[in-house]
Symmetry: C2
Subunit: 385 residues, 2 copies
């Protein structure tokens, strides 16, 4: 099963202040308190999610575009993209679909890297709009049956599961005037680093991180989703009765792939909402966000296991007057009373009125966990593990 | 406080099979079982939500468009709109933000018409795209600061609360190529009836019904939301600690107006999930939907108070290849075992992974209730009221 994968081009990671969840491929996340220290997450605290060894590429790297609406494949070097298209900057939350998987893994074993609440970061990404690049070669909203077309992305990144990392989004998202899908070459005002997909990656705001393909190699306009493992047999919310790889094998095709993520919040400081047993008051802070550009309208925080709630103070600047979407996360803080031995919890409401559910609803891949309660895993003697 | 409102132009309603919630203005909804008899809700079973007496207008009625980007006001008669712009048909769920208010009203008194689960219908609407009409007079995505602009709609409909009914949506929604905002003059393949806004109304798919302004009189491009009562002091989710009109008065401006609605489902047959106490098995059906074009990926149904869940079979045809959005609702059905004296409940998951919460989270206006549990209101002796 194991392919020969060459890890000799990995970058130095000595400056990263991250907890390593997996070494090869490299997967790591910050501690919860580090995560909410700044509105724009610095690279040292920005989670890394790789699917294989990282390639080392430069600005001569070529991206090809082909498929429906194009007679011949078109090619751009990274250098050309930088020169020929206007640069746009967006602040957006990059969140792995597996963020907070640990909460579901406590209910029952899940398949995947056991992320805590740190598989998320709020970055400032800059690059050219995919819409502009596609428009320059004649791909626009006039294409027939546009609602059934997709844009597939392929990466240079090799991996165990497939010949390369790949994914897709609906073409309508890519061409949406307010969709802000970028071919990004900068992050936090500096050139993209290798851990984040240098020299160029897709960023799809409002969508799970899996669609923001790093080390972009090719773009294909096609009449179905990407056939990649990561679009078809991963990153889907299987129903709770699907519990094994064998059952999943027959079920993947019945469940839609995840695009936009759900409403989410978490108590990061004190870490995981856990205070000393003699603590009666706490200043609490955390993050909240929702998918598809939906903003956060309220975060309720409880120190008495959900009996009473207090509204937190939100910090979510609107950074761009050309969009109505809220791609960035919201940081929040509140001072509350805490009942003895009680985990502090938060519950966010987005602008559509979606609210976090109370109990985790387990799924095999452990994706999109957004429950406000954490159910501790216990041993045979009912002790918390 | 009461204005002189003239109710002499109300239509005959003898063919409607609806339960009247309020006579003047006319507010009525179907029984839950009637609601899910057909994918496209016939007019006799389609809820009516009025804010005042209905005007009687014809195709000579004039709609004016003015504001930012326009030097002078532009005017179109309904007749001209029909002749000059291409007709588009969309199937969409029209849902009042107060749908299922009764569930919150059982927790504590709410302000508003006490709707059951029938303040919703799935209609086929046809008309011209607002985007096309605006485009014809030079309003398009090139306007500066487009992210901060809004389209306000005013109605001929008079009402107690304000000089006329009014509302607004972000201009970006109106201009979205895939937004499908229509100036509709047909519903279910026939001219719009008076109860549904004849001769012309706005329909804003994926948004609460309040934004789909009936009897459209004027369209104004402006740099803030509508100042209407219905945009500013209604149709907002106030936090639970706001319990009186006085508290609300100071709080309205702190809370965003609702646009897209949240994930929702309901057991309609048997009505409200209630079966005879000797019933051990039931064939159950209901509806499910989510806002903003998000589809429904799963509906779980429980006959044992949420201990176990069974996946329902979904019916949600995709009706239009020019959009990736799911504006229509989803009907579902399932056969399940029922525990004695237990209300059957349903819980939907949308394509973004949002799921209905367990318990109602009360808000003063009783809007956007989507909990899967119903908490019965009880008297002093703890008997269900």
């Amino acid at each position: 099963m194991s392919k020969q994968l060459d890890y000799s081009y990995e970058p130095s990671r000595q400056d990263l202040k991250l907890e390593i969840r997996k070494d090869k491929p490299f997967n790591a996340e910050p501690t919860p308190p580090d995560l909410v220290k700044a509105y724009i997450t610095p690279l040292e605290h920005f989670f890394c999610r790789s699917h294989g060894p990282l390639p080392k590429l430069d600005d001569h790297h070529v991206i090809s575009i082909q498929g429906i609406g194009l007679e011949t494949a078109q090619q751009f070097t990274v250098e050309q993209l930088k020169q020929q298209f206007k640069k746009k900057t967006i602040v957006m939350a990059m969140q792995c679909a597996g963020n907070r998987r640990d909460g579901l893994h406590k209910v029952k074993d899940t398949k995947g890297v056991i992320w805590g609440p740190g598989a998320i970061g709020n970055g400032s990404y800059a690059g050219c709009r995919l819409k502009d690049v596609l428009g320059s070669i004649g791909i626009n909203c006039q294409l027939p049956d546009i609602g059934s077309l997709h844009v597939a992305f392929e990466s240079v990144e090799q991996c165990e599961e497939d010949r390369c990392y790949g994914s897709s989004i609906p073409l309508s998202k890519a061409l949406d005037e307010f969709g802000d899908v970028l071919l990004a070459y900068e992050m936090n005002d500096a050139p993209l680093t290798q851990d984040h997909g240098a020299p160029i990656r897709v960023v799809v705001p409002g969508y799970i991180g899996a669609r923001s393909v790093k080390f972009l190699k090719s773009i294909i306009i096609q009449n179905q989703e990407s056939s990649s493992y990561f679009q078809q047999r991963d990153y889907k919310i299987l129903p709770s009765h699907i519990e094994t790889e064998q059952q999943a094998a027959e079920y993947w095709c019945k469940v839609p792939s995840i695009g936009e993520f759900n409403v989410q919040s978490y108590v990061c400081d004190p870490a995981d909402g856990q205070v000393e047993s003699n603590c009666r008051q706490a200043r609490v802070s955390g993050y909240a966000l929702s998918g598809g550009g939906r903003g956060i309208q309220r975060v309720d925080v409880s120190g008495d296991d959900g009996k009473t709630w207090k509204e937190a103070i939100l910090y979510q600047p609107k950074t761009d007057s050309t969009t109505t979407n809220m791609w960035g996360w919201c940081l929040w803080t509140v001072e509350i009373n805490v009942k003895r031995n009680t985990r502090i919890v938060s519950r966010a409401v987005d602008t559509s009125g979606n609210i976090q559910q109370e109990y985790p609803v387990w799924n095999y891949r452990g994706v999109m966990n957004n429950s406000w309660r954490t159910i501790d895993r216990r041993d045979k003697n009912n002790a918390v593990l």
